[in-house]
Symmetry: C2
Subunit: 181 residues, 2 copies
């Protein structure tokens, strides 16, 4: 059984979703939340608040893997810096705790959860609600996206993360005694 | 007297330069270094190594202010994500310790140190060497840039950072008992 934390990084809303995965196709809901920071706070205070929020989640739920949405410079030029910074904090926290890390693209997440890489937010939310047998759809979209990331990771078995790993990265990971799966 | 840490953020080379500033035009050299991480390490390990390197510098030299190069999404699309993530770590660490933070653009730094906003790296290095009365020019350019950021901050008196501050940010800063100058 592995517990997976999905993180949909963002400065204003950072989605965090936790699931347990018993086998390749068996997943169950654990927790979902959105860490919010006010746009008029200084950037450094926003980043600290998100770091503290992520630490609280890691302490309470003790996931073994963190699946994070991969940030591209081409998308959302306006918000890419803040999104990258939040993703960077999540990555650093994973390394600090020796947790496995996986990055999944939005297309991979949508394809994995809905079967269609260009699915819209409503389709993703509906499928997440059905897959995890939730009574009500998780809101806002960032919350559903975080759960979708965790589901995607469980179903792909960390394959996409391993695919990009170099020999040096495997050696480093082996030395640390961590695994990506 | 205030001790200023300049940070030129980067994943492969993160420049860190420390100066003491006694008055507006009086600055003296304290320390310069470059935190390096190997390109074939997993991203999360690189970010953790840089965080640890910055923490070691903060612990040893106890600056009161961190001046960081402002990252723009328009520049260096290829490296902007990593640069933003390193800058984000420095910002978070500053907030964690209640240190003042200032962001300066490359143009501001060049204009402040050389008098010319489009100065090249050699000109910046030469001026930093002269201003701080160094025996040898700091190398690589990331080291000189980090010292230039600190000098820029001392000479501008943190004005550029304060200019963009909203009333809510001032209130937050006042509540925390920190200052930007």
């Amino acid at each position: 059984m592995s517990r997976i934390l999905g993180v949909d990084p963002g400065l204003t809303r950072c989605g965090v979703g936790l699931i347990d995965s018993a086998s390749a196709r068996s997943v169950s809901f654990v927790h979902v939340d959105v860490i919010r920071t006010a746009a008029d706070l200084p950037l450094e205070q926003r980043l600290l608040a998100i770091r503290n929020g992520l630490v609280a989640i890691l302490d309470e739920f003790q996931p073994g893997v963190i699946a994070i949405e991969r940030v591209f410079a081409q998308h959302n030029v306006r918000s890419v810096i803040g999104t990258a910074q939040v993703a960077g904090l999540a990555l650093m926290l994973a390394a600090e705790r020796g947790l496995a890390v996986a990055l999944h693209t939005p297309t991979e997440v949508k394809a994995s959860v809905t079967g269609y890489g260009r699915a819209d937010k409503n389709q993703v939310t509906a499928m997440v609600t059905a897959i995890l047998k939730l009574d009500t759809p998780p809101k806002p979209a960032d919350a559903a996206d975080a759960l979708a990331l965790a589901i995607c990771h469980a179903w792909r078995g960390g394959a996409s993360a391993l695919a990009g790993e170099t020999a040096a990265q495997r050696a480093w990971r082996t030395a640390l005694g961590t695994s990506r799966s």
